[in-house]
Amino acid sequence: MLSSQIKSNEIVFGCCNKDLLEEIIYYGIGLGADFVEIFIENTDNSSVLAEEDFITSVSPSFGRGAGIRIFKDKKDGFVSTNDLSKNGLMRSVSQAIEMLDITDVKKREEFNGLNKLRDYSLSKKKWINEVPSIHEISEKLLLSTNSLKKNNKIIARKGSYSRNLQEVIIASSDGTYACDIRLHQTVGLNVIANDAQYRSSGSRRFGSSGRPNEFRLWDHEKAANDVFESSMNMLYADYVDAGQMPVVLANKFGGVIFHEACGHLLETTQIERGTTPFENKLNEKIAHESVTAIDEGISEGSFGSLSVDDEGMEPEKSVLIKDGILKKFISDRAGELRTGHKRTGSGRRQNYSFAAASRMRNTYIAKGDYSKEDLINSISDGLYCKSMGGGSVGATGQFNFAVEEGYLIKNGKLNSPVKGATLIGEAKEVMPKISMCGNDLELAPGFCGSISGSVNVTVGQPHIKVDSITVGGR
């Protein structure tokens, strides 16, 4: 008998768990569940921090757990546990059934067993041996912090790396049976510059999925130069005057505004809550005709890409907005059940302790016809947001984003750097004001926190021009 065929009373990664998983699902269906989903995870992570010229933190971690979700009508019960034994998993099923108060076992759903395993992990098992060692990471991080030491105004230098390797098994009562291995690596650089009463900071983050060699290829010198220049440019910057003005948002992480202010409103979880202004706007114009927006999980190597989502569906490329017209919502299993919008392969979660929800993956505004200079030349008085910080969106759709690196635009030209700017608005009002899109689309990695935890995403856009937006300052 092959080792992979040995039956076990506990989930064993790398072995055939089909019989055990089927038994658990049969058990749930037998107790009256409409639908049973099992998500099992095994993780192997590590992170390294370099400060100044020392490695100050190396933090490996590993763990495993299961999340079991039971649906009855449109309700769902979710139980997570670290106990991957048959008894532990069955106990979790019972707990979910009990929570949902399911007592009617006469009307049983059918379960015809699991389909043939869709194994997305076959070519990925070697990744764990291909990723850089802690020693290799440490050396390169120290090179990168050393590269930030460019003058005596730099008072703090940091480089950080993290690697997450996640092995998952997904099985559900509609026959779904899949397994996958996911690898995410991210590296960040931060500096603080100081001169007398002046202080500034600069930061950049880089990341990829499924590319074990990516960190080795990372150009730390280029990254360090970029972060250093940003901090120097902003060191003596004046505070921006508040007001309404046209702005140009840079490509890459500039896309965070679309992600936060509009993307989240196109997730079916927002329809379920009744908190999106776009709920009944399908096939209606919600943005300027220059705007086409996409959410997909298929760009090779991008931080938000997946072979299969956390509900066992292959991700699709979803055109959310086409020439300003709303075309699609981002949907997961619960979203389809509760709102009728078809699943898009977007059921995602941070780990086994969260139920999957409709979440963005690689989300970006498509490129247009203009150059960056065209956009800037079209403005007589405005703001160029070269680098965006984080932001947030309120429960009624108002957003607020910090501008990390900004420059005034005067008579069609970039002028002096300004600090302290925030962009304030509401997606519904700002989307029709994106009047020009550049031809330089680029993506940037990030982490998105929401209902199902923190997930890896990319945001992106070309340079875009917003005709008018409130800029907060002093």
């Binding site: 490695i55 309700k75 508040a242 509401e426």
Partner: protein, 450 residues
């Protein structure tokens, strides 16, 4: 395995691996939570979690660490091995030791621990709360963000030097965030959060009332003109800003060069002499209180600002050693030990000094902006630079009338803010993150749409 058994297991495994110096922190929890949607159960959740963090010192006294959710015999052994490997990369520039206070007796304090009420009762309570909140005003159409949860957990710290501490407790939380809609008006939203030791301890009625009143009070809104205003910070919003800039009191941040303070800042005057600020994790109103920190150091009340001047910094074991003082009970166990405040208490000193005591948020008739809640802290605060630009919920008081501010940000500098405190009201209010009175600050910039 219980916590004593885990300690024995780690000790035996460490011996077998010839690891002589180790410590660990662990937490074991059971969580139950419910959400509802218009009377229907939406999602019901239960989770059982265990997290173990082990540190190992190698022969060069360098520390390595590993975190795992696998506390089986093999999991513990693997964690020790990984921590030992990681210790090769331990910080050579700054040593870490056991806290000298890890075996100090902890003053007995009554531990309030409740039994689970069960998912069904949680669901019933939340359903009733949702209905009452919607019925409280015709404009409240839904409660899109809601939840009621109970957590039962045990936390442990032990080390190879014989220190062993553990405690277990329970905590429950209710949040209700309502959405109000009126014809030709933008939807408005606000809410309330209440904590208790168990679901039965939570004052659900006051949570409903607070969420309703706050939401309704924002129905009549208007944009605000961009300008500088006299500001009254609610207790919650002032605590938010103090917590956001707590790196000023944080020895770890000072060593790392990301604080506005430096080693010599003790005694620096930051504010009016009428201002006192404490960190008091053991305060009787702090439902999340913990008797010891991640390194096993007992938690205690510590004065951060005394009569407007910096009095103390918060410390871990290693930062305390560098500053030639004792740990203060603010460490989080990690490869690089973090330091953070527990529960901030803001007080007015006994004397009024230079305060304009006539400023009272409930009676003042002049123009001022009342900041109820600050948002987007992670995005709008630059702690290392001292600046902030934050959206807020609040009202403009003018000519005896109060109108909700549609969408605006407040921007400034924390040192300027503290220096420009013009009144500290007498009465303190308890919030989820600490205790504070209303605080008045002159001349802060507000950006609005008008």
């Amino acid at each position: 395995m219980n916590s004593k058994e885990i300690t024995t297991q780690i000790s035996q495994a460490a011996n077998s691996l010839n690891l002589r110096k180790w410590d660990y922190g662990a937490s074991f929890s059971n969580d139950y939570s419910v959400q509802v949607d218009k009377g229907e159960a939406k999602q019901l959740k239960a989770s059982q979690k265990q997290i173990l963090t082990i540190r190992v010192w190698n022969q060069s006294n360098l520390v390595g660490i590993t975190t795992t959710s696998d506390i089986s015999e093999s999991g513990i052994k693997k964690a020790l091995k990984q921590a030992n490997i990681a210790s090769d990369f331990g910080n050579k520039n700054e040593s870490t030791e056991f806290s000298p206070l890890a075996k100090e007796p902890i003053k007995d304090k009554e531990v309030k621990k409740r039994s689970p009420v069960g998912i069904k009762k949680l669901l019933t309570l939340l359903r009733e709360a949702e209905v009452k909140l919607i019925e409280s005003h015709v404009s409240i159409k839904s409660v899109p963000y809601n939840g009621l949860s109970e957590t039962f957990f045990e936390r442990v710290y032990a080390n190879s030097d014989g220190a062993f501490r553990s405690y277990s407790k329970s905590q429950a939380a209710l949040y209700l965030y309502a959405r109000a809609e009126e014809k030709d008006q933008k939807p408005r939203s606000s809410g309330s959060v209440k904590l208790g030791y168990g679901a039965d301890d939570i004052d659900i009625e006051s949570c409903i009332k607070e969420a309703s009143n706050k939401t309704i009070s924002h129905l009549n809104y208007s944009p605000i003109k961009t300008d500088k205003y006299l500001i009254c910070f609610s207790p919650e919003s002032f605590l938010t800003i103090i917590n956001a800039f707590s790196s000023m009191f944080n020895a770890r941040s000072i060593i790392d060069g990301v604080s506005l303070s430096n080693k010599n800042s003790i005694g620096e005057k930051l504010s009016t002499e009428a201002l006192n600020i404490y960190d008091d994790g053991l305060h009787e109103k702090n439902i999340s209180s913990t008797p010891f920190d991640g390194e096993g150091t007992p938690t205690k009340r510590l004065c951060l600002i005394n009569r407007g001047r910096i009095e103390n910094f918060i410390h871990s074991e290693s930062t305390a050693r560098i500053f030639n003082t004792t740990p203060t009970g603010h460490a989080g166990l990690g490869s690089k030990v973090s330091v953070s405040p527990d529960w901030i208490v803001v007080e007015k000193s006994e004397e009024n000094f230079d305060l304009k005591t006539s400023l009272d948020h409930s009676t003042h008739e002049g123009e001022f902006v009342y900041i109820e809640e600050l948002n987007a802290i992670h995005a709008g605060v630059r702690a290392s630079q001292g600046s902030f630009s934050l959206p807020f919920d609040g009202w403009l008081y003018k000519n005896g009338k109060k109108i909700s501010i549609e969408s605006a940000t407040v921007a400034g500098d924390i040192k300027y803010l503290l220096k420009n405190i013009v009144n500290i009201e007498s009465s303190q209010e308890v919030t989820t993150s600490g205790i504070s009175p209303h605080i008045w600050v002159d001349e802060l910039s507000i950006t609005g749409d008008a």
